[in-house]
Amino acid sequence: MDQREFANRRIQHMEMCDITKQFPGVLANNQVCIDVRAGEVLALLGENGAGKSTLMKILYGLYRPDAGEIRINDQTVPLHSPNDAIAQGIGMVHQHFMLVPTLTVVENIVLGLPSSKGIFLDLDVAAKRITELSQKYGLQVDPWAYVWQLSVGEQQRVEILKVLYRGADLLILDEPTAVLTPQEVDELIPTLEEMTRMGHSIIFITHKLREVMAISNKVTVLRNGQVIDTLATADTNQEALARMMVGRELLKEYDKAQVTLGETVLEVKSLCAKDDKGLPALKKVTFEVRAGEILGVAGVSGNGQRELADVIAGLQQATSGQVIIAGKDVTNKLPAYVIDAGMGYIPEDRLHTGTIPSFSISENVILKDNARPPIARGPFLDFEEIARYSKRLVQEFAVKTPTLETQVGNLSGGNIQKLILAREISREPAFLLAAQPTRGLDVGAMEYVHQRLLEQRAAGKGILLVSEELDEIFKLADRIAVIYEGQIMDILSIDQADREHLGLLMAGVTQAAD
């Protein structure tokens, strides 16, 4: 049965040969060659901005390459549009969600597909198939929920379901795990294995070397738009790959400076809030962050982290309780007020909450300070100062961009994150809220961001770090608060905490007294 399915796959061998793609000021792909066979997982590895997404968009027919060709089963195929790609059996999960927030999950999934009821939608039939698929692959999601109500992790599941639903032979997964919890990643791996057994080919992009080792058969490493090497996964290891990617060795351990704790910069008292569906999302959350410490919030995605960050940032209303930043009560105040009180914010959804994609880098950099000197002189903007300031940030934080006028939406995912970080940190806030700050960053950039956060800590800032990466929390935090179903299960100091205990807390298990 599997054998037959395997042989029936339309794509037995896909090759991209000598692909070149030039964007204004950036050579995103330079004579890139990759190939993948039925049943294989090819991992694409590379720094932020190396050209991975661009290459995949070419394969999916979204971009036209300037040179090069794509062959399927040794035949050159024209891929001029996603329709061509879909017709060839290629499916893609995009790095940035390609979902329509105002539509339901099932509507998003069947969008563009013919219906069993002719011109009318067959949503009930589709919802059943989706439920089957999500059970089969462990991708739980309510088909009738609106996408705007979903957490980032759930949205990612919808993206994967969308491709599975279309029965693609070759799946392109552009950083699918960036937004998944470690548990969810562990659940995804068997799914992928199952798919390869059925003869699917998979191109898998990730910055997490652990996943590369666990999932792929071979790896292609890109740097600056060029292929550095392609090797069998079995013949390499994480350190070698990291070196190949960033061109240098990475730190194994971080130095944490001795800091004396200062005043309380964030105080959250009995905070309650509801989620988009109107259900309680935060239940009497209480904690504080003091100057010079990093408090990590650990938890499985969807347990109230998003609401916690939004309420603190003034983006969502609290139903009761208090938020105090640097001594000022900011409960249910407008974001501008919260910013003024001394908060910096690195949001989870960086493309939309953190930036305005159609604005230039400079414009995004001054977004929060456009009414203040030296950026503004009276009602006017000082463009020279803006240019100087933006240039400094871009250089200091190594944001990879052709010009300062480039639209932020055109930056690679990792570079958007660096830009937000640059803006928020250099505003010198007393308190910094970092929600998933290294999601989607390459290992080099991640190390860089971590160093910056530790620097801020050493400089006496208080930081609330919301992260689903336990590794990250262990590396950076001084204390760890575990959140489960909107409640703080416990707050542990870093030397008390061990992974096993944390894992139980994150699953909602309070240890029975022994």
């Binding site: 979204l62 996603p82 539509l103 069947v110 969008l111 563009g112 013919p114 011109i119 009318f120 939608l121």
Partner: protein, 310 residues
């Protein structure tokens, strides 16, 4: 004084008039709803209505067959829609400006063509009311709803039809997606351009019909600037109706019934300054809009041209 208004035959008169007055708004606004749902903002509705009004009238005058006039209005509406779609979708021009351009074009062209083809005020035999058997005998409701010409029925029928098309068909799903997140629709192989062209043309055909209603189903004549701003009101009603056919029906009926009411208030000589009376539909519609609370789902990509690599 008020009891004068509360007599049954007057209430019936007001409601029946309101239903009749709502037809051009309903046709044009439902069309513009499709246009905007796909992400295109067509401010040229008024100009298309004028061209539809003129062409419907002229063809009827020449042929004596109002149905041919309707056909002409449909063709003219479609052509103007194609022009709008070309400028705003293919050329990616600023939609507000091209809409105003289309309005001026329609206004100038309709006046010019009327001058050279007809050139004097005259009337045609338009559509007569058709009393729907049985239904029109229902007291009150019969006269209010079931004693109009076919275009009134047609416009009312279009409300559930539009709703079904928009929310229950695969095509409607594409429209809703394209107007919010065109990139997402694009990655699933939905032709953003194709959908937008179709929606702009559909919207324009309906604007053409709305114009033809004024000449063939209402006044039976054509005159300079006949539409008198109704196209712009229709665009506003799309916002009022929150891009939903039922909302648009509510808005169109509300506006028109208040308008009919104020005419009757004047006709009955009630002691209300006429300035207040004529402003009432506009003011009350704005007030009603403000009072209806709830989240506004403006199609997020409304007015934004789509370009994959930009």
């Amino acid at each position: 004084m008020i009891d004068q208004l509360l007599q049954t035959h007057i209430i019936i008169g007001v409601l029946a008039t309101g239903v009749r007055l709502s037809t051009p708004f309903l046709l044009a606004a439902l069309g513009e709803m499709f246009t905007q749902r796909s992400g295109v903002f067509n401010l040229g509705v008024e100009g298309i209505m004028l061209m539809g009004a003129f062409s419907g009238f002229w063809v009827t005058l020449v042929t004596g067959t109002p149905m041919l006039g309707i056909l002409a209005a449909i063709i003219v509406g479609a052509l103007m829609g194609l022009l709008m779609a070309f400028v705003s979708v293919t050329m990616q021009a600023k939609q507000g400006i091209s809409g105003i351009g289309l309005y001026m074009l329609g206004w100038g062209l309709a006046g010019f063509l009327f001058r050279i083809t007809v050139g004097y005020v005259t009337s045609v035999e338009g559509f007569r009311p058709i009393a729907i058997p049985i239904l029109s005998d229902i007291p009150i409701l019969g006269t209010v709803l079931f004693n109009h010409n076919w275009m009134v029925y047609f416009s009312l029928l279009l409300v559930p039809i539009s709703w079904v098309v928009l929310f229950k068909t695969t095509w409607g799903l594409k429209v809703r997606a394209v107007g919010v997140t065109p990139e997402a629709a694009d990655t699933l192989g939905v032709s953003v351009r194709g959908i937008r062209y179709a929606c702009v043309v559909i919207g324009s055909i309906m604007a053409g019909l709305a114009g033809a209603f004024l000449t063939l189903g209402h006044t039976n004549m054509y005159g300079d600037n006949l539409t008198a701003g109704r196209g712009f009101i229709a665009v506003a009603l799309v916002y009022f109706g929150r891009w939903n056919p039922w909302g648009i029906l509510a808005g169109s009926l509300f506006f028109s019934i208040v308008d009919a009411l104020q005419l009757w208030v004047q006709v009955l000589g009630l002691d209300i300054p006429y300035e207040f009376a004529v402003m009432a539909p506009y003011v009350l519609t704005v007030v009603a809009l403000a009072a209806v609370s709830g989240r506004i789902w403006e199609p997020a990509a409304l007015g934004k041209p789509f370009d994959r690599e930009a």
